[in-house]
């Protein structure tokens, strides 16, 4: 996947990603209209399908609202690259099928507007503009499966049928 990078700093919190005043709906398209509004009121109108976010430390800190990754995904963001992610946002993004990649080097190198190419299978981030290439932290195997299925719900449904069972054998921990 190829797209343009949008650059954000450290500690981008969930109130910046989607302010609570817009949580009177959970329709992804409605949420997308207000994505990042308090960081940049014009952003939702500028972002294109397939674009990337490159951010600093602790991306997605704050609230547990799943509306945050939902809003970014619906706004067209294909991958969020950050130096680090806040814990709940990290889980939420994987659960709803928004790919995220952790790479401090890539986050430092990428400038706003850079053309970025990402291969999610091997976690390789190519900054076409700067000519640099980076590999992101790999996910544990079972998380890769959730990502591949498009999120936790699809993963649980397709892997285990209508009776939802979390079990060690299903997740094949550490393999």
């Amino acid at each position: 996947m190829t797209g343009k990078a949008w650059k954000f700093g450290d500690n981008i919190d969930t109130d910046l990603i989607i302010p609570a005043r817009y949580l009177n709906t959970h329709h992804p398209e409605e949420l997308a209209k207000h994505a990042m509004e308090d960081a940049d009121p014009t952003w939702a109108g500028k972002v294109k399908k397939g674009d990337f976010i490159a951010a600093g430390e602790n991306f997605g800190c704050g609230s547990s609202r799943e509306h945050a990754p939902i809003a970014l995904k619906a706004a067209g963001i294909s991958v969020v690259i950050a130096k680090s992610f806040a814990r709940i946002f990290y889980r939420n993004a994987i659960n709803i099928g928004l790919p995220i990649l952790e790479s401090a080097e890539a986050a430092d190198d990428i400038k706003e507007g850079d053309k970025i190419k990402i291969n999610l299978t091997d976690g390789i981030i190519d900054n076409v503009t700067s000519g640099q290439s980076f590999s992101a932290q790999p996910f544990p195997i079972f998380m890769q499966k959730i990502i591949k299925a498009g999120g936790l719900i699809n993963y649980l449904k397709t892997s285990h049928g209508p009776i939802l069972i979390f079990s060690a054998s299903n997740l094949r921990l550490g393999s």
Partner: protein, 420 residues
């Protein structure tokens, strides 16, 4: 189970997964209680319905609270509330409807949490129950839906960061100041992916109410939980509120800690978190002249009886300054009734405080006191992010109930140690 020494977090996750869980392991663990609120449960219901499961695993271990926008401020929220009410009724889940209070107060107060429990909630401040020795952590709506269906969830066993508060707390300095100082010192991601294990004499000296304030803000430095020991105060508190049997857990001698930190509270001043980050903390002596247009006392951080009693002591016989407002929101109906019984409510209203429905109040920025452009707010809440209270052009300062009370009398940020 292996006898290798464990932290509190490792022990609770071991006991709930049947594994010898060590930091870094991924386990699937049985949940004791699951919390939802009106901001996140709508999405969770959608996710649950997509799973194709008809019934939740055990309705008695689940509650949903309508606390974030309560009563509903608009049509969109009303529709979400109705969806939650219908789901709770159909599933036989306990619903705490408008006015009952904030989920993080209701959960322990109504006896749903006891020491040794493993609890998840679709709200980041679910870590509040750590004050009573519970591994209690915030997750998103889809994780909640998976938990509703299965009674289980996967966890990465966190490393533990041990924080010891020692010394005697000076007058005018409170538990809020202790946690703000910690977050200021270790920053907003200082404990990301970690469990905080918080103890020491200064913690044991605090009431259980005051300890909830500290555990509540563990997430503000990125922590998964902020767990405290189950001493006699905790055991007595839990016995008063719950019929369930507690299973208190303590850390083993020789448990491995990723980090340790000791904080001496004896010389601590009241602390203020300045806009727009919770770790932007300074002692009150360095705050300078900051005019205040709105004060707020309440939330899952500082909306308990003791918080309002502290504020009432300062505001008794005084008035909120002209040009300044004070909004109060008890964290639960029970707390509001206690405030009415002991005269705290009357004292605060006499002084000019404006009460709103027990619940999250204006903290989340959906209603009940959205500040106007350029205004400064001093609040007992846990977050001062840009736009948090509904206006990205307002400025939020976080402090203890005592500091908020002293400040609204002066119409500027004021040191509670100077109050009578």
């Amino acid at each position: 189970m292996s006898s290798s020494p464990k932290t509190i977090a490792e022990k609770i996750l071991s006991l709930h997964s049947g594994k010898d869980a060590k930091a870094g392991d991924i386990v699937i663990a049985d949940l004791d209680f699951l919390i939802g609120q009106d901001g996140t449960s709508g999405v969770a219901i959608d996710s649950f319905n997509k799973l194709g499961v008809n019934k939740v695993f055990d309705p008695h271990k689940i509650a949903i609270t309508i606390d974030h926008s309560s009563p509903s401020p608009n049509l969109g929220v009303s529709a979400i509330h109705q969806k939650i009410r219908d789901f709770a009724a159909a599933q036989g889940i306990k619903l705490y409807d408008i006015g009952c209070g904030v989920c993080h107060q209701i959960t322990p107060e109504q006896g749903h949490a006891v020491p040794g429990d493993l609890i998840i909630g679709a709200d980041s401040h679910t870590c509040t129950c750590g004050a009573i020795n519970v591994f209690s952590t915030g997750i998103g709506s889809t994780d909640l839906a998976a938990g509703w269906a299965s009674g289980k969830l996967w966890f990465k066993v966190p490393e533990t960061f041990k924080v010891t508060y020692k010394g005697k707390l000076p007058k005018g300095v409170f538990s809020k100041d202790l946690i703000l100082r910690l977050i200021g010192d270790i920053t907003a991601d200082g404990a990301t992916y970690m469990a905080l294990e918080i103890g020491g004499q200064a913690i044991l000296d605090l009431s259980v109410d005051a300890r909830f304030t500290i555990a509540n803000m563990a997430i503000e430095c990125g922590a998964k939980v902020g767990i405290m020991p189950a001493d006699k105060k905790v055991m007595d508190w839990v016995e008063k509120h719950s019929k369930r049997s507690p299973k208190p857990v303590e850390a083993d001698p020789g448990a491995i800690y990723a980090k340790t930190l000791e904080i001496d509270v004896a010389k601590l001043e009241p602390q203020i978190a300045k806009p727009h980050q919770v770790d932007n903390v300074c002692p009150i002596s360095q705050i300078g002249d900051v005019a205040i247009q709105q004060g707020f006392i309440g939330t899952c951080t500082n909306g308990r009886l003791e918080d309002f009693q502290i504020a009432a002591k300062i505001l008794k016989g005084k008035k909120v300054k002209d040009g300044c407002r004070l909004i109060i929101a008890p964290a639960s109906k029970e707390i509001m009734l206690d405030m009415i019984k002991d005269g705290t409510f009357q004292t605060l209203v006499d002084a000019g405080a404006v009460p709103v429905t027990p619940g999250c109040g204006p903290c989340v920025g959906t209603h009940n006191g959205v500040p106007s452009d350029g205004e400064n707010v001093i609040s007992t809440a846990n977050r001062n992010f840009k736009g948090r209270m509904g206006n990205p052009n307002a400025f939020i300062y976080l402090a203890s109930p005592a500091t908020v009370a002293a400040s609204v009398i002066e119409g500027k940020i004021a040191d509670p140690r100077d109050s009578r």
